[in-house]
Amino acid sequence: MNDDAASPLELPPLTLQQRGRAGALAPIVLLNTFLNIITLSIYRFWGKTKVRQYLWRQTYFMDEPLEYSGSGGELFKGFLAAAFLVLLPMAVVSNLAETYLEIESTAFAAFSVLFYIVVYSLIGMAIYRARRYRLSRTAWRGIRGGMRGSSGQYAVRYLLLWALTLITLGWAYPWMRQTLFARLMGETTFGNRPFLVVAKLWPLYRIFSACWLGSFLMFAAGMIWLTVYSHNDNEFKVVWTADISFWLIAVLWFLPIPVALLWYRAHEINHFAKATTIMGVSFEMKAGFWNLSGLVSINFLIIICSLGFGIPFAQLRTFRYFCDHLTIQGNLTPEWIEQTRMEAPTIGEGLADAFDLGAV
């Protein structure tokens, strides 16, 4: 017995576990699928909420289940707001532009650029707002999460950093990823406590440059093979070379990017986890190329084979992957975490639904 006046329980170990099972999720998914079909998919907001409630309550932090308190009605209202205030006006404007502007005119080009700027900023905004909504509906021991920054500022960075990544042929990618992660995670709060993100950039660039150069060399090799082969109009040009060329080009051009991306991402996940702390508690992820590839490819198959209806199973697997590969170190003192004073958004992540930004 503790003689502290508040009498806290003896602290369970700092673990995050996902105890959900596909078998228990299946009836929820089946019912959702049925109801989506008969309601022209308007039920999806409520269905999504049911899935989240399941995933959240099966996620245990320090042996205590999380709780999801969002509702389908909130998501539906968020959707209506996004549809009528954002999407419909955008659709009308772009239709008008296509109608009245010559497709090859500078006016149309200017309009297109402007339109993409708006769309990309809205996507950035949607990501931030969806996260804010979900965190505000997530509670552990009644204490809620939140986002303390502004979605507008995030949107500006999102837009500029993506543009920079395109201009630099991808070389700004790690910088973009880290800046955006630092924004999202560093502005996340649990109760009144902020997460902190302090990360160096060079470890990411070490991996990234290897990935970029590797992919580039493979691509160049494919180009060289193609050039040599197409100038070679003597007896070498027989059927088996054509076959080999096809497969060689396919491997050289289309394999490196997904492989490099997965390899980079595995490092990135670990790097980001290491950079994050809250109240002196630190995190460590052990993602690797092979286990991440397994997760991504099986999730991909699940979604494709179920025509998208199986997405919740993929989400469960992602949750579990994350929990299984995460270790948390340090001492957390729960009584130091006070309830957040931030106001929670009243309607759900309409924009994110509109742009089909998956997440959970």
């Binding site: 806290p8 309550r57 509702s71």
Partner: protein, 360 residues
């Protein structure tokens, strides 16, 4: 006497967890700290279950008076006690007010969508059709035309084409402002004619074969010109596009099933003018025939020719082809068309024969 059960409790101010004893008594839920330093009394009217009781997670409760506080008890006996005292916490199925409200909301949303589509769109599409620039309408019309004749050759016998031009000019000469129409004959056996956006009109070979005189063809052509003049094809095009947009908006893009249904439904709708539109086109056609000094009874003769065959056709259409299925009842149209009966032939016999053989 209600049993006392071990549970854990957090007050919602901090994440600290306290060991408590919970009792479901007659006057409410009593929560007593095991160390004796606090006690809570929640009236049943304020108590809410976080999730329905489940075997795989502890039963979690909160109170509306302290919505961030959580009581968590892992005991089936406690749940049974509480069920006895406060059955309203355990409502299932349609007894739950939130479920009833959600169902009402979904039905309302479906009705609103339906109303918007079937009532709103026609009102919107008519004024919008007059805003579409001619060039754009032309392009759309060409796309539709190639889809409708779906690969069938366009008949281009020189003297037949000349005869068709004579007929078209005879009808449109008197119009002011002039109306741009582009009439072609497609080599298809259907007894059919279409008006499409941008003044494109397609007559099928089957209709020429069926017609007993050049005036009957002229009457059909005048009717189609009526559709063009009233911009019916564009109106329907906008209608269909609008429905597609609304359905996309509501059901979320990417559901390929919905998209397929939309494609098929869209094409059907496109060729299915409302009865009011047909009446407008009929009236316009009669006026055009009269102004051109042609027999306004020709329309009636053509319909009379269709009638016996239609009686045989079992698909509910008034003719074998199905195209006239949306038209006002044949009797009514024959009546309306026979009221005015004067005029001479639009083409001389040689030209009429040339037109009949336009497909060679």
């Amino acid at each position: 006497m209600a049993g006392a059960y071990d549970g854990s409790y957090s007050d919602g101010r901090t994440a600290a967890m306290h060991e408590v004893v919970a009792q479901a008594r007659g006057d409410g839920l009593h929560i007593n700290s095991k160390t004796g330093d606090f006690e809570e009394h929640w009236r049943y009217g304020d108590v809410r279950a976080i999730d329905p009781p489940r075997s795989d997670i502890p039963f979690r409760l909160t109170s509306q008076t302290m919505p961030d506080a959580r009581l968590s008890v892992n005991s089936a006996e406690f749940v049974a006690d509480l069920r006895h005292q406060a059955p309203q916490l355990f409502l299932t199925g349609l007894a739950q007010p939130t479920l009833r409200r959600n169902i009402a909301l979904i039905i309302l949303a479906l009705c609103a969508l339906g109303l918007l589509l079937w009532q709103g769109m026609p009102h919107l599409s008519a004024p919008l059709a007059h805003l579409v620039p001619a060039q754009w309408a032309q392009n759309i019309g060409e796309t539709y035309r190639s889809r409708i004749i779906s690969g069938a050759p366009v008949c281009n016998d020189a003297s037949g084409t000349a005869a068709l031009a004579v007929m078209t000019r005879r009808l449109t000469n008197s119009l002011s402002p002039p109306l741009n129409v582009d009439v072609i004959v497609a080599d298809k056996a259907q007894v059919n004619a279409f008006a499409l956006p941008g003044g494109h009109i397609v007559i099928m070979r089957g209709l020429l074969e069926k017609a007993g005189s050049s005036d009957e063809v002229a009457a059909i052509l005048a009717h189609e010109i009526g559709h063009v003049s009233h911009r019916h094809p564009l109106q329907m095009g906008i209608h269909v596009a609008g429905i597609g947009m609304m359905v996309d908006l509501f059901t979320g893009e990417g559901s390929s099933l919905m998209e397929m249904a939309g494609e098929v439904g869209g094409l059907l709708l496109l060729l299915n003018y409302s009865r009011d539109m047909e009446r407008e086109a009929d009236a316009y056609g009669r006026k055009l025939m009269g102004t051109a000094g042609l027999s306004t009874g020709a329309m009636a003769r053509f319909f009379a020719r269709l009638k016996p065959e239609g009686k045989k056709g079992g698909n509910g259409a008034e003719n074998g082809g199905g195209y006239f299925s949306s038209h006002p009842p044949l009797e009514e149209r024959i009546d309306a068309a026979t009221k005015l009966e004067t005029g001479q032939s639009v083409l001389n016999n040689a030209d009429w024969m040339a037109l009949k053989n336009i497909c060679g």
